[in-house]
Structures are given as C-alpha cells and as structure tokens.
C-alpha cells in the first residue's frame, strides 16, 4: 500500500481530522497524526489486512527546542509481510515545566515493544505516556534529576557525592 493509500484509508476510517499534515521532504514520508488518537491509528494500521504494520521499529522522543516549546514522538512502523515502512509523528505544545510533562497516549496495548521504548523516551526526554503499565526510568538511576536529552538540561554538579563534570 502506498503512502497516499494509507492516508486515504486512515481518513476514511477516522475522519480527515486525524491526519494533521504530512512531511514528504525526508528520506521517508511521515504522517502527522492527531496526538490523542495515535493509539487507535496504530491499532488500525496493525490490524488492517491491507496495511498489516505488525512491527514497531522504534519510538523516538523529540525536543523541538527551547523557542518552539514543543515536544513530539516519532513512531517507525514496519510491515514484515508487505516489506513496507511508515513514519508517524505526533507533537504537542508544552511550557517545559518539569511538573507538566508533555503527554501522549501509550501504544503499549498495540505493540508490546513500545513498553521499553516509551520508558526510554520518558527517561531521557521527559515525555509522559498515558496508559503505560510501568512508566519508570529505564537507563538512568531511579533517583536521577531531570531529563538529560532535553535542550535546556543542565548537568548537576554532583551525583551521590561524585563530581559529574571532568
């Protein structure tokens, strides 16, 4: 199924408002999806026999920069039987306050792989996934402060009495 066919399929199933836009400039075209409906879109793309995106290659958390005040998540789906790939992007505005994390629906109910991917995005970029069964840090120690891959992250001076900087 081509990119255009997938677009058509999604807007027929969920209405045209589910696709906010598209990016075709990159190596692979991407669909910008309405953030709150990403889980149902993934479920449909996985279950529909015409698309059958049965494999979640990766989830990436994105910090679009301090001026943009925007966080996003990129989903790379792959269909093993059809040998096709699809990129989905969602993003929301956020004031970068650590008490107000950008939030997206979790897709762990669709792809079990998403569990650790979402934990990694939470750990390093500080993105909250609503409905995730066990959203803890995965790489850094549990008592780490802040999210290191955010653009405004400042390294602390000490961690448990050990100086961090060289």
């Amino acid at each position: 199924m081509s990119f255009e066919d997938i677009k058509l399929l999604l807007s027929e199933k969920f209405g045209p408002e589910v696709i906010i836009g598209e990016e075709t400039g990159g190596l692979q075209p991407a669909l910008l999806i309405e953030p709150l409906r990403i889980a149902e879109v993934c479920l449909e793309l996985r279950n529909n026999p015409k698309t059958y995106f049965d494999f979640l290659s990766s989830i990436t958390g994105v910090d679009y920069g301090i001026e943009a005040m925007r966080f996003g998540v990129v989903y790379h789906l792959a269909s093993i039987p059809y040998q096709t790939q699809l990129t989905l992007k969602v993003s929301v505005e956020n004031n970068r306050d650590l008490d107000n994390l950008p939030s997206f629906p979790s897709i762990t109910s669709v792809y079990r792989t998403a569990d650790w991917h979402e934990r990694e995005a939470y750990d390093l970029v500080g993105i909250f996934f609503d409905g995730h069964p066990d959203l803890r840090r995965i790489l850094l120690p549990d008592d780490w402060d802040g999210f290191p891959l955010r653009k405004d992250y400042k390294t602390a001076e000490y961690y448990k009495g050990i100086k961090i900087d060289f």
């Binding site: 850094l140 992250y153 448990k160 050990i162 100086k163 060289f166």
Partner: protein
C-alpha cells in the same frame, strides 16, 4: 630466597615478608567483570594467544575470591555504586587496575557524558592505570606485571 637440597628433602629459607609477597603476586585472581569494549581485550588476554594464566592470573566469578578488580570499560553513575559494592566485598589485600581511557578519566565521554564517571578513581582507589582505547592485551599484561612489582615492594610492617 635460598634453598638447599639434601637426602631427606628440600629446605627453603626465606623471609616471611618475601614469602607472602611472592604468594600474592603469583596468584593475582581478578574478578571476571567487564563493563564495555575493554572487556573484549580483557577476555582476549585470557585466551590462548596471550594466556594470562601463565602469570597465575585466573578470573574468579565472585568478589569474595578475587584479589584484583580490573575495571574494563565505561563507568556510569549507575554502575559506580555497584563497583563500589563489589570493591567492598573483596577481601584484603585488594588491588584495582583501571583499564582504558573511560575508566581512567571518562575517555571520549569526558565533556558531554552526563552519565559517565570521569575516572573510576573518584569511586575506588586505583593501583595501576592502563592507557588505550581499548588497550591491547599486551598493555593489560604490562599492567599486571607492574602491579606485581608494586606488590613485591610491600612490607608487612612499616
């Protein structure tokens, strides 16, 4: 040390100090513990080409049985706590070899590595540093010989 042989058997005369040092330096058992790519060279040093066993260096799976802790790889802050605990579990006398740039000083992560301890000597005391990224097995063997020299000069008292 000097030895005399007669019909009833051999006699070895030595100083207690020398005997202990000789025993310690001839059986440096490292903990089989690797954290990053340096561990590949560490394993290579034990394999048939370099055969560290000929120096009495034989890896132990338990910190309780180990004499030397070879820090072979990048020490993250999460791992630093575990390394400290392993070091504390080792019986005295114990020695530490810091193997490779990462555990010497943070290596390639010295500037932007928020998660890397800039030198394992910020966590535990180090006896011998091995430079390289990663060091070849010859360098590690060199460090073990260097550690043996250090042990040779130890004294029981004073």
């Amino acid at each position: 040390m000097s030895s005399e042989m007669n019909d009833s058997g051999g006699v070895v005369i030595t100083k207690m100090n020398d005997l202990l040092n000789w025993a310690r330096l001839s059986s440096l058992w490292p903990l089989s513990f690797g954290i990053a790519c340096c561990a590949i060279e560490f394993m290579g040093a034990f394999a048939s080409t370099y055969d560290l066993d000929r120096y009495g260096v034989f890896p132990r799976p338990s910190a309780r049985q180990a004499d030397v802790l070879i820090i072979a790889g990048t020490v993250t802050f999460k791992m630093a706590e575990r390394i400290k605990r392993l070091y504390e579990q080792m019986p005295e006398p114990k020695y530490v070899i810091s193997m490779g740039s990462c555990s010497n000083c943070g290596g390639p992560y010295w500037q932007h590595g928020y998660h890397v301890v800039k030198g394992v000597d910020r966590v535990i005391p180090v006896d011998v540093y091995v430079q390289g990224c990663p060091p070849r097995p010859e360098s590690l063997i060199g460090a073990i010989l260097e550690l043996q020299k250090k042990i040779e000069g130890e004294r029981l008292v004073g």
